[in-house]
């Protein structure tokens, strides 16, 4: 039952991953106060630690190339088991979308529109996402490449312009923090930007990969996205030095300090527009994926009627979620490193194990061979 008619090219898939990871550079305030001057090291550790997690995702999608996550659960755990596991995933996708929506509301509130109530910011935003999702996967991921190219160009520009206010010593002393904060930092990073790639398992079947190219594009997107994130954190650390731990939006704070010429200084509003566009890409992708998961879970062939009710639900959910932004940061630092792994590591791993126990991938491959021959 393949709702998704539009196919996207592997290049768009890779750039979608990069855009996905790059747009969570706003959330660096989760781990920077914990590992103040080694946050760039922690990102590298995070990338290394999340490689096996990537391997689980890739082997899952290679085992079942033609079906997305919800279908895989049905295949592996049977009808009822699959339904329950997929319910967990569904709730996880909805929470992710609502979290990112809330982040956007706070970011726009803090950066530009301090007196507008966040409700309005989020409602107008989700309507725009709904309009994009209405047209399907092709439109949602079409601009990934353009956004990434523009954001990398502007990142390079901000590097060049702020060379003279960067301090070299702000990276020292290296590895001088207690081990616990490193573990916590790495754990947060593997969960927030990199662990969220589990959502891409939902759209892998709709990308026309040629035989084994899946690994190259999935890994490529992940590594390049991680590099972009690393570049952002390096720039923030170099400019802010040891004051990095005070700010709730460090990457936005550096953009306030960058001066082009001595007069044209306060350009953070231009950068804010860029960050909003990146966040738009991420929220639309997540919204699309949760709708797709919902429609596959209910075995319904089109999700178009559900767009608006789910959008309203997400707006309400993103408001109920936390009472204050401090609570959100605390939750992200203490609970998420233990709660997200259930969805991002445990469940996919169990699915993989059970699949191999029941030799489903071999049956799957033979079935595909017959389809090809017939």
């Amino acid at each position: 039952m393949n709702i998704e008619k539009s196919r996207i090219s592997p290049l768009q898939f890779m750039f979608a991953i990069m855009c996905f990871i790059r747009s969570s550079s706003l959330l660096s305030s989760f781990f920077t106060p914990i590992v103040n001057q080694d946050s760039w090291l922690v990102i590298i550790f995070g990338m290394i630690v999340s490689l096996p997690v990537l391997w689980i995702y890739i082997s899952l999608s290679k085992a079942f190339p033609k079906s997305n996550l919800i279908e895989i659960n049905d295949l592996v755990f049977g009808r009822i088991g699959g339904k329950i596991i997929s319910a967990f995933y569904l709730w996880f996708f909805f929470t992710l979308t609502a979290l990112n929506l809330r982040d956007l509301g706070i970011f726009v509130g803090k950066s530009t529109m301090s007196k507008t109530p966040p409700v309005l910011i989020i409602i107008v935003f989700i309507l725009l996402c709904a309009w994009a999702v209405y047209y399907g996967l092709e439109v949602v991921t079409r601009y990934g490449i353009v956004f990434i190219l523009i954001s990398s160009a502007i990142l390079l520009l901000s590097f060049l312009v702020s060379i003279n206010i960067m301090h070299r010593e702000s990276f020292l002393p290296i590895l001088n923090q207690p081990l616990k904060s490193y573990i916590q930092g790495t754990n947060i990073i593997t969960m927030i930007p990199f662990g969220e790639l589990v959502v891409f398992l939902m759209i892998v079947p709709y990308v026309d990969f040629k035989q084994k190219k899946l690994v190259r594009y999935f890994m490529g997107g992940f590594l390049l996205g991680g590099l972009l994130l690393l570049a952002v954190i390096l720039r923030d650390l170099a400019i802010l030095g040891n004051t990095l731990k005070y700010f709730s939006l460090p990457s936005f704070e550096t953009l306030r300090i960058i001066r082009l010429f001595d007069s044209l200084g306060h350009m953070e509003i231009l950068f804010a527009i860029l960050l909003i566009i990146l966040l738009f890409f991420k929220v639309t992708l997540l919204f699309y994926i949760s709708l797709l998961a919902l429609s596959y879970w209910l075995k319904i062939e089109t999700f178009r009627p559900f767009i608006l009710p789910v959008a309203a639900l997400l707006v309400a959910y993103s408001f109920i979620m936390f009472e204050s932004s401090m609570q959100q940061t605390a939750f992200a630092r203490e609970i998420i490193p233990f709660f997200w792994p259930i969805f991002e590591m445990l469940l996919p791993f169990i699915t993989l194990i059970v699949a191999y126990i029941r030799e489903l991938p071999k049956k799957n491959r033979e079935k595909e061979k017959e389809d090809v021959k017939v």
């Binding site: 529109m113 725009l128 353009v146 007069s263």
Partner: protein, 540 residues
């Protein structure tokens, strides 16, 4: 308010039901004359044609006698003005009358006399025989002469079109510095000839079609077999056939009937007045639609980047051409977002303006009564009215009005303190930038107002949303099955979108539109200068 809403609902509801239970429109009565045959009795037939065509002064019926000592009675029916008198007198009247040895009925049948008249006497290339009055009337109205004769139940249609035509002049809308200057004219045959002259290949197809109940305009679908994608050609033809209106005055009508997204701001059918542009587009795989009586030829699948390309880009060297093209993209972004951005700056994010500039702007706007948004709307409105006045008035007066109007009004408004000077400058920049991209000027002026409203309500955040909204809208548009902004989002080869690669490098035609024949030139290596040892006499 409620009357409007329930009218809307009823209208919406009515359209729903109307589709599935109304039979198509009853047959038009004018088709009945198709069946009445020519009776052979000349006066009766002429009488019947007179009744059909009415007593309009330009329809001429000339009765004369011809043949051996003038026994045969004949009649010529033609529309004065459509027929070229020179053809009428020289190649029709003179031979008929001068030819004496056509004896009536001494040879066997009426058919042989008709054939002898057709083959030997009338010296004209295109002569056909018709049976029914309807066809006679039709071809007579389209400029041919009808030859009737006593006792014959068939008539001869002699093509004698030759009305006054406008000569080929340089089109006003697309003037170029370098490149061919000729433009299409209203005459159908001249346009097709202009295209034929440029593409001399055998597989250039000009499929003919006539549309419109009353006007019956000749429309021809021109494409290059092999280069154009067959199913695009079929969709174009199918859509053209499905048009059932009574009049096609200009190719603009056709454009609006066959375009994919009638509700969208952006045009999905391109048009141009210059044959070299149309032929270049056809060579890229597009289908051209030439309609009689309109100098604008439309090309079917249109891409967004077409409106940023001009023919001149390909005639000058690539560096400057690419630079111009990048300026055009910038101009489009400026013309859409400049007023909105100025409003967002002055009312929401004053910190972006450097301190000294901000202080001068405040002093400039010290006395102005209106809030920034209202001021911008007033200025944009006055600019649009000025531009429209400049176009509508006759040429010399028009230019004077628009320049004088802009300068004097702008200056007076600023000194009178009604409007801040920075705002006038922004609107002037927007106005100038809009002319850099003529094809999208309708979309630009509407988008500008939408962006302005968004900026005044939500500031820079509103502009970001507006920008994203436009991107989504563009991504969802398809023109005849081809996504609207294919080459702009880095998924196909970008050889001709933001910058123009050198001609010898662009060896492939655009992948999204083209049919089988994909290559333009064989190799994509730079043209190597003739090596020294090549003998001079090869090229004199």
């Amino acid at each position: 308010m409620f009357k409007y809403i329930n009218k809307k609902l009823r209208y919406g509801f009515f359209r729903l039901t109307e589709q599935n239970n109304h039979p198509p429109k009853p047959e038009d009565d004018s088709k009945k004359t198709q069946e009445t045959l020519i009776s052979g009795n000349l006066t009766a037939d002429l009488e019947y044609i007179r009744k059909l065509l009415g007593t309009s002064s330009d329809i001429k019926m000339h009765e004369f006698r011809y043949g051996e000592d003038f026994q045969l009675k004949g009649a010529l029916v033609f529309v004065d003005g459509l027929v070229s008198n020179e053809i009428l007198t020289e190649s029709i009247m003179k031979p008929l009358i001068m030819n004496r040895n056509l004896s009536p009925f001494q040879t066997s049948s009426m058919q042989k006399t008709l054939d002898t008249v057709r083959q030997t006497i009338l010296c004209s290339g295109d002569i056909t025989e018709k049976y029914t009055i309807g066809e006679l009337v039709e071809s007579c109205l389209s400029g041919d002469t009808v030859f009737l004769s006593e006792g014959f139940d068939k008539a001869l249609i002699i093509s004698s079109k030759g009305w006054e035509k406008r000569s080929i002049t340089e089109p006003q809308t697309e003037s170029v510095v370098r490149g061919p200057r000729e433009g299409f004219t209203e005459n159908f045959r001249t346009n097709t000839a202009l295209i034929r002259r440029r593409i001399k290949s055998a597989n250039l197809r000009l499929d003919h079609m006539s549309i419109g109940e009353k006007t019956d305009t000749n429309v021809c679908v021109a494409y290059i077999d092999g280069v154009a994608d067959p199913n695009i050609v079929d969709t174009v033809k199918a859509r053209l056939k499905s048009i059932n209106t009574d009049a096609i005055m200009d190719s603009g009508y056709i454009e609006q009937y066959i375009e994919d997204h009638p509700f969208s701001l952006f045009p999905t059918v391109g048009y141009s007045e210059k044959p070299d542009v149309i032929t270049a587009r056809m060579l890229e795989g597009r289908v051209a639609i030439i309609s009689d009586g309109s100098p604008f030829v439309t090309t079917a699948p249109m891409l967004l980047l077409e409106s940023f390309q001009t023919s001149e880009d390909y005639y000058i060297r690539p560096y400057f051409a690419s630079l111009l093209r990048i300026f055009r993209y910038l101009a489009f972004i400026i013309t859409v977002s400049a007023p909105a951005f100025f409003i967002a700056l002055t009312t929401y994010h004053q910190e972006l303006i450097p301190t000294t500039l901000l202080l001068t702007i405040i002093s400039a706007r010290e006395g102005t009564p209106f809030p920034a948004t209202l001021e911008a709307i007033i200025l944009i409105l006055s600019f649009e009215i000025l531009r429209e006045a400049g176009v509508r008035l006759p040429r010399p007066l028009g230019q004077a009005i628009s320049i004088v109007g802009a300068l004097v009004m702008g200056e007076a408004a600023v000194t009178a303190g009604l409007v801040g000077a920075p705002m006038v400058i922004t609107i002037a920049i927007t106005a100038v930038a809009e002319f850099a991209v003529p094809d999208q000027s309708e979309a630009a002026s509407i988008l500008r107002i939408i962006f302005l409203v968004l900026a005044s309500v939500l500031g820079a955040y509103g502009i970001a949303l507006g920008f994203l909204g436009v991107l989504i809208h563009l991504a969802s548009l398809k023109s005849f099955g081809v996504p609207y902004c294919t080459n702009l989002t880095f998924n196909h080869n970008m050889q001709d979108s933001y910058i123009r690669m050198p001609l010898w490098f662009m060896s492939k035609r655009p992948k999204a539109i083209v049919g089988q024949d994909k290559t333009r030139n064989k190799t994509n290596t730079p043209p190597s200068p003739l090596s020294k040892n090549s003998s001079p006499e090869e090229n004199p």
